[in-house]
Point group: C2
Chain length 361, copies 2
DNA sequence: TTGTAGGCGTTATCAA
DNA sequence: TTGATAACGCCTACAA
């Protein structure tokens, strides 16, 4: 791509380009919107003139004329959550590739804000991408009725939704802990309105019950490092030897909190997280449920683009599988280890992080 | 909020309302945009007619006519970078509070993409917020001439810019290492086009020279955990005992890479990072330059909103100070420690993370 | 206080 | 394959 010219001032309009290329405005319009209707040379000439002037079609004017804004809205509960960040990145990339610009709304985990953002954006947008919405179902339906909408991690019947299916991997996680010899475990929950949390919580409960494990559930105000850290003491008081956290950030927080009480992972306590973004960056590396968050964002935008193009309202329910990746934060509980007489210590260059091994799903 | 009428079909326009209320279109327009110019009764009558019809002013048309879109554009090199994420969060919150919606562009560290995004967004936006732009200066000037623009971490004369002043803290970091006894240190650089990198690099160079330290500079393709990790080997080969990294993510990567070579932080190697977002979540906690990224985003939007309102082009150059926060990733070099006969080991509940102590700036 | 008319930058319709 | 010309829905001088 050549550098556009630097002559500033008002942005060049279609008329200027038309004059420069000595064609009509209609021809310029077609050179960008329907080049197949024009001769090869004309298209080239017009495009050349356009780059020479630094012309870019005005989306607003185009929208007024066509009704298509070329924009989509992405609303997430928390931009700074690595899972959402990766998702946004994928979504934004695909949107751009498809010629769409993206509005971003951070709802700060607040349902009312979500509602407000969507209402305000509706007029400027052709479609909604709602990530883990915290709104009540009827509010979601309300907005979805207005614009093509794709939900991520929210399972509302008759709406198009993409579900990162972490349940089975959490079940696998519980099994993994059981196999290591843990008998008392905990689940450190995420936001109450979160579908993901409901799914994970249910999977953990069911599996723990099936395997006859004692299960403690801790709830937190908001998934964060600090929230996790605050859980360390309660976890120790409850005498559990392992925990599955709602996400990696919380797991990391728990690890830090445990360190404050001189408990180390995985020797004194085993931890399982979720997301896989920061799981490999911690020491020890976290055993974690790997979600392809970037891919989820891309996929969601692809679907949304289809919906906006065809104006079809076919409802999909798409599930994205996950895997439990065992790394270095899970091991045998102390008691059990003592009983067997071997305190396995993972050390050395490779063992410290453990080459990831795929399990389940 | 009452439910609007559900009569479907084309949305009612200003003309229909005018007919319904038996006034001119201009009057309807004013009833919404400048009610103070109308008599009380007229306004009420028009509004009544509007609600009866379910009329809502068309933002797109309004924008085309006035140039006021109520939108701003935020462009960052990488959404997933925690520093930028926190900044975006602050920015988005303030924008919403001021009644603006926000476009998000991820340039993927590529100058051309940045250029393209801005060109495409220009017409739909009242102002630009460019975070750590990688574009050439003349391109930045070009866009800034078209719309009110606030730059973050890009120091271009005559433009309004917000600079997170990390230089002094990096200088302080070098001093800190020197005080601990390090004689051979490294700076692991960030993106070449980055102003922040230039500033940090210069500060490190000058200070190392002043203190008579040997300095090695490593450059990386892109700041990331993996890039940092790949630096571990070169660092060890260069025989340095400490490094300042471009950001926390890289520092964390270096720590992980060192672990692969059975080197531990801070006993075998000291590390200093930057940003402070993830610095407290690592083990050991990183000595790091604390930047109030969220505040920077908020501040930038506040300024931008002012510029858009007043249409003034007063050029500010605002500097945001930073602090070096000493945590647990810096200590005496082995040799020095051996010489003094004390290998200080930070342990125990508190010592492991070290209560942060403020230094410098 | 209200109405008239022209324009914002594109696309779409209809001819040529 | 290209060119006139009329929308698209609203705002805003200017006039009344």
């Amino acid at each position: 791509m050549e550098l556009p010219p630097n002559r500033s001032g008002p942005a060049p309009t279609i008329s200027r380009v038309a004059a420069e290329a000595m064609v009509s405005r209609a021809t310029v319009s077609r050179a960008f919107g329907a080049p197949h209707l024009l001769s090869r040379e004309t298209v080239e000439a017009v495009r050349a003139a356009a780059t020479r002037l630094g012309y870019v079609p005005n989306q607003t004017a185009r929208a007024l004329s066509t009704g298509r804004t070329g924009n989509i809205a992405l609303v997430v509960p928390d931009i700074t959550n690595p899972f959402f960040a990766a998702l946004m990145r994928g979504a934004q990339a695909r949107a751009r590739a498809a010629g769409y610009a993206m509005f971003l709304g951070d709802s700060d985990e607040r349902p009312e804000l979500e509602d407000e953002l969507l209402a305000k954006l509706a007029a400027q947008v052709e479609g909604f991408l709602l990530v883990a919405p915290r709104m009540a179902e009827d509010r979601i339906r309300h907005h979805a009725a207005r614009r093509p909408t794709v939900l991520i991690n929210s399972d509302i019947p008759d709406l198009t939704r993409l579900l990162v299916d972490t349940g089975p991997s959490y079940a696998r996680g519980v099994e993994h802990l059981a196999e290591l010899g843990h008998r008392r475990i905990a689940y450190v929950a995420g936001p109450a309105q979160s579908w993901s949390n409901a799914q994970r919580s249910a999977a953990v409960k069911a599996t723990a019950k099936r395997l006859g494990l004692r299960l403690v559930i801790l709830s937190t105000p908001r998934p964060s490092f600090e929230a996790g850290r605050a859980c360390a003491k309660p976890l120790l008081l409850k005498q559990v030897t392992a925990a599955l956290a709602f996400d990696d950030g919380m797991a990391q927080g728990i690890a830090a909190g445990l360190a404050d009480w001189a408990q180390s992972v995985p020797d004194d306590f085993s931890l399982i997280g979720c997301d896989g973004v920061i799981a490999t960056t911690t020491v020890p590396a976290l055993t974690s449920v790997a979600t392809q968050c970037g891919a989820a964002g891309e996929r969601a935008v692809d679907i949304l683009v289809d919906m906006m193009r065809d104006r079809v309202a076919g409802h999909h329910r798409i599930t994205i599988p996950t895997d439990l990746v065992v790394r270095a934060s899970t091991g045998r509980p102390r008691i059990c280890a003592a009983a067997t007489g071997t305190v396995e210590r993972r050390g050395g260059i490779d063992g410290r992080r453990g080459s990831p091994s795929l399990v389940g799903a």
